[in-house]
Subunit: 377 residues, 2 copies
């Protein structure tokens, strides 16, 4: 997986699943192809579009115009923007909204928006009449490079994020970088965290390319953005194609996520996901260095690239090690309450000596956390 | 599929799925094999048993004693008996109850009870951390002969029954006819409706056998009950093995269900499911006869067998044809709002001239309903 970065800012990538495959279409202006792609990959009696209300405000008119080319009825169902909408109440409300329009098993859901729209609408589709097709039309950078590919859907509950959900691969993904031009710089920066992770675990050339093009990417250069989406989706498609259900290789996508998720929860979700993953990657690289698994200097190298992408490299405030430990033991990835860590060998390569991830016992993590979060003086 | 009825009251039947297969173990006293079957087919770090509180009251002590042979922790989560528990609120509550015990992705759900327990606990498992394994331990006759096999899970919503759910095949099904000995005669009768359906669509010998053994089956004869469960599961396993997702052959299991479901809903669920299916089978056979699809006399033959099984053959009261028509157009099986009907050629054989089911337009059904439900004088 260590190819040179494709210079192509558009194209089509096929993602393998346990039951077939689906295409990811990437390209500027590709939104116009939505009716054609629906007809080819997801013929249905009716379509229900579920969108973040903010995104619908920005792109609704364009989407409506494009969809006037559809022969089937289309209904629109919006929800309030933000992670706080990703819950069972909103899932129920949207499901009932689709039922009220009479959408049948021969219907199809279109998810339009960022990661929340993809997860929430995907879970509505996964559970609507025991599952109807969904197509993903990501509009945020993080959804384009990461969340829309791989079939994970779900909602958050009080006990934690994404604890209720389903694997429900889309029929296709349509990523039009032009939809991301309206994103604020800060949101682009958030999207780069997962792309940097893809480079860190699989592709050193891509990792270096993001560093060199960081300013263009933050500025919304459409050519650079297209190339970023292409390469990240190629890398992610390879991983989820090998291991859809995270029994093996897919675990490597959790690099930075074990400590990242715990810090995100510890901050009561004031720390955005991309920032949490950024800090998590630095910490997990430091952890790997300390254990002699990761080459020395890698955590510093990651911090440099994150810095160029305007992402944080250290946890803000003083996280409480006890709280973090408690959150780690409840992690969805934990087995028998022991949390698991993806450790790099070096940039572009995950250490494989203990499978795809390391089980690290509480004393090891406790000592590590005490050293990085010295706690109140 | 037209074998003689197996005289074996116990055995093991393999159900094929899109991703492998699972066994259904049938036999008196087979509950004792639960720990062994869990270890073999569903090794897990911890088990969460979800049970109908009434069933738990009857069989809890026995299940606890049997499960003392487990090496892993077991937690018990009960819900109030009855279809009214099969909703999203109870699904949320049970999910949170499992989360509170710290059950991880390496856990497994055991569903103990009738059809409601299987559907509800199955849906909890299907959506818990994007899906953990479930095993089905049916205790009612209808769950043993029908509901526990085939992977359908879900809950009811205001708009209709089973409109939210997932396909989530169990790791195994354990049907111990001894668990059904405490059932009242009326509930046994309800369970016979689906078994009679299996005979009507696939196996004339079995259909006749149920008629001859009806008194033993209603009385709870364990040998006859075991043989009934064996043959019904064989027939159902064949069908769902051919077509897990109801794209084709599985539709035949809906015989009696299109009109049956509508009458069940029209009665606001005062009409029990088995009774509704019984009446639905007679009506759909009459409909087939009227259209010249079903041999003359078949509806009468079905009514005779239902009568022996102490099931109704005519809708109670005076169902309102308008309401029934409205409910039919909203049926989950409807395509483009046109409802579909499985029509028999004769006993043991479904008419296949239009695929597995017939699309019948509103005027045809309107006329039929007007003739069978003359409405208020």
């Amino acid at each position: 997986m260590c190819h040179a970065v494709s210079s192509a800012p558009e194209g089509r990538i096929e993602v393998r699943t346990s039951v077939g495959s689906y295409p990811v279409r990437i390209g500027r202006g590709s939104l116009a192809e939505l009716p054609k792609l629906l007809a080819r990959h997801c013929p249905a009696h009716a379509y229900a579009l579920i969108a973040d209300a903010g995104v619908w405000g920005l792109h609704g008119a364009r989407v409506r115009a494009v969809c006037s080319g559809l022969d089937q009825p289309l209904t629109i169902h919006t929800f309030k923007p933000g992670e706080q909408s990703k819950n069972r109440t909103e899932w129920s409300r949207l499901t009932d909204s689709l039922l009220a329009t009479g959408l049948g098993r021969d219907g199809c859901v279109i998810a339009l928006g960022g990661g929340v729209a993809g997860d929430l609408a995907g879970f509505v589709a996964a559970t609507y009449m025991r599952g109807i097709p969904v197509v993903q039309v990501p509009t945020s950078l993080v959804a384009m490079v990461d969340a829309s590919v791989g079939g994970k859907t779900g909602v958050d509950v009080a006990a934690g994020k994404n604890l209720v959900g389903a694997f429900h691969p889309p029929r296709f993904v349509l990523a039009d970088p032009d939809l991301s031009v309206t994103l604020p710089r800060r949101e682009r920066s958030q999207g780069l965290a997962e792309a940097i992770k893809h480079g860190a675990i699989l592709d050193p050339a891509y990792f270096g390319w993001i560093e060199r093009r960081a300013e263009d990417l933050l500025g919304g250069d459409p050519h650079a953005t297209g190339a970023l989406v292409m390469r990240s989706v190629e890398l992610k498609a390879h991983v989820v194609g090998e291991d859809e259900r995270e029994a093996g290789m897919r675990q490597i996508l959790n690099f930075g996520h074990t400590l990242g998720h715990a810090l995100e929860a510890e901050s009561e979700f004031r720390l955005p996901h991309g920032s949490a993953v950024a800090i998590g990657m630095v910490l997990e690289a430091q952890l790997g260095e300390r254990l002699g698994v990761t080459e020395r200097g890698i955590s510093g190298r990651i911090a440099e690239v994150l810095d160029r992408a305007e992402l944080p490299t250290r946890a803000p405030g003083r996280p409480d090690p006890e709280t973090v430990l408690k959150l780690l033991s409840r992690d969805k990835k934990a087995r028998s309450g022991i949390s698991r860590y993806v450790l790099l060998a070096r940039i572009g390569r995950v250490d494989r000596r203990h499978g795809w991830s390391w089980e690290l016992t509480r004393p090891i993590i406790e000592e590590f956390l005490a050293s990085v979060f010295p706690g109140p003086a």
